[in-house]
Symmetry: C2
Subunit: 246 residues, 2 copies
DNA sequence: CGCGAATTTGAGTATCATCAATTAGGGTGG
DNA sequence: CCACCCTAATTGATGATACTCAAATTCGCG
């Protein structure tokens, strides 16, 4: 019988190095100089494939790894007291997940693959050791966490002060920018979340999400075909914000 | 003429030590053992008094200090594109502010004193040096940041999925718990925010905040006299959540 | 091809925002 | 010390936005 200490983790511990990763400019090593990235290679971690619909970690699981998304998309979510799901994040390639677990030693949210994915499972303790020898690496980790705080800030703004159209526009534009930063097309992408998940994330009902998509389409801002989105009028979509006279 | 490098900071650099602070169990040293707290005493920082209405730091200011609230209350807020203010946090004694500045080297929000206050201005660079010698201290700092992430998470939940009564109840109960943890009465306190500020924070209009207070009062959950709040039925207020059948 | 799930769309409604008027307080100056 | 003013808060009336319930349609998968 396997040790009960934790859920099965690195199935095949493929050794992976940051310095040769195609995501090195936007992922963990972001901001580090060449030699420092090589020092990061001292960090041994495993890659893992997670199939669509599978859960990478669950709310309450012991915090042990930070995960970097290599490919694919994840959502993070929490269970509400009444059993409903609240989506709290969307993570695409090059982004990190799990930082929220540090506070209490347990993940504060669950991460679910929205398509077939691959992640790097970075042992936090090991990363920490390394960071102790490198002030810059330490700074990078701290900055990543701070970035997460800022990210949530802006989502709060969104939830606190925008109407349905503004929320969806903000969501799409944010995603568009992140896609662009990763070399993908900023104007055409596949939404991996369902209408219900988008709604949960943005604080509106799935019907409203659907209606808002339709409205954008009629305004010729988007072409929507189920989960496939094409932004046809980026400026128009951006104007959704400034048009907040109310 | 004073050097233009930064805004005037420590007026009188009173040397302050964590080990003898009455807030040591809930503030920065929280979770550290006795000897480690003493090591924290190597950290020299200044206390500063901030008068009601004064701004401690502004959105965009260069990030240099983390601030610990010694006494009084702060709000943090951002300016929206249209010039309105969005309140993003409330900070009471023993809590830290400014962590959001690490991401970009500039504060992502402004901090304003809601009454006469006193803070410790902790130079982040110095804290960092110290942390490099003490894994535990490093862990504490990381945990503080993660805690911030979790805090925002829960506010997002609130904004995303609660109605007006639930939001205000959640806000009051959260504040109540924090007061309690600091040895203050959990059931009677002075709200330092105006109705408009509370509304901004909770994503509702000031009129709705006012009406909801009145409703709670009629339900005999609270006694409200302007900014003075007395919770008369803590369980009832808590039930506001579970009663989310809709 | 057929079933179940996801999405779209419609109609009616509840909640909260807006507009507006009134009251209460806190601070200032006569 | 009181009158006055400006701001904050309360309360009411009305309306817009987004939710609920419901039905029709499409999609994806076996």
């Amino acid at each position: 019988m396997a040790p009960a200490s934790a859920r099965p983790i690195p199935v095949a511990a493929i050794k992976t190095q940051c310095s040769s990763c195609h995501l090195k400019d936007i992922c963990l090593p972001c901001g580090l100089t060449g030699p420092e990235v090589e020092r990061l290679d001292g960090l041994k971690f495993a890659r893992r494939k997670i199939a669509a619909g599978e859960v990478l970690y669950r709310e309450g699981d012991r915090f042990q790894f930070i995960y970097a998304v290599r490919s694919g998309t994840f959502k993070s979510s929490l269970m509400l007291a009444d059993g409903r799901e609240q989506v709290s994040g969307l993570h695409i390639a090059g982004e990190l997940m799990g930082l929220d677990g540090l506070a209490a030693g347990k993940y504060a949210s669950s991460a679910t693959a929205l398509e077939d994915t691959e992640v790097c499972a970075i042992p936090y303790a090991h990363l920490n050791e390394l960071a102790q020898q490198s002030p810059n690496l330490q700074m990078v980790v701290a900055r990543l966490m701070s970035r997460e705080i800022v990210r949530e800030h802006s989502l709060m703004m969104l939830l606190g002060s925008m109407n349905a159209e503004e929320r969806l526009a903000a969501f799409l534009l944010n995603l568009s920018q992140r896609m662009k930063a990763r070399g993908y097309s900023p104007c055409e992408f596949h939404l991996r979340m369902s209408r219900a998940e988008i709604g949960s994330y943005l604080g509106m009902k799935l019907e409203t999400v659907s209606r808002t998509f339709s409205a954008f389409q009629q305004q010729r801002l988007l072409e929507v075909d189920k989960k496939h989105i094409r932004i046809t009028d980026l400026e128009g979509l951006t104007r959704m914000f400034e048009t907040r006279v109310h």
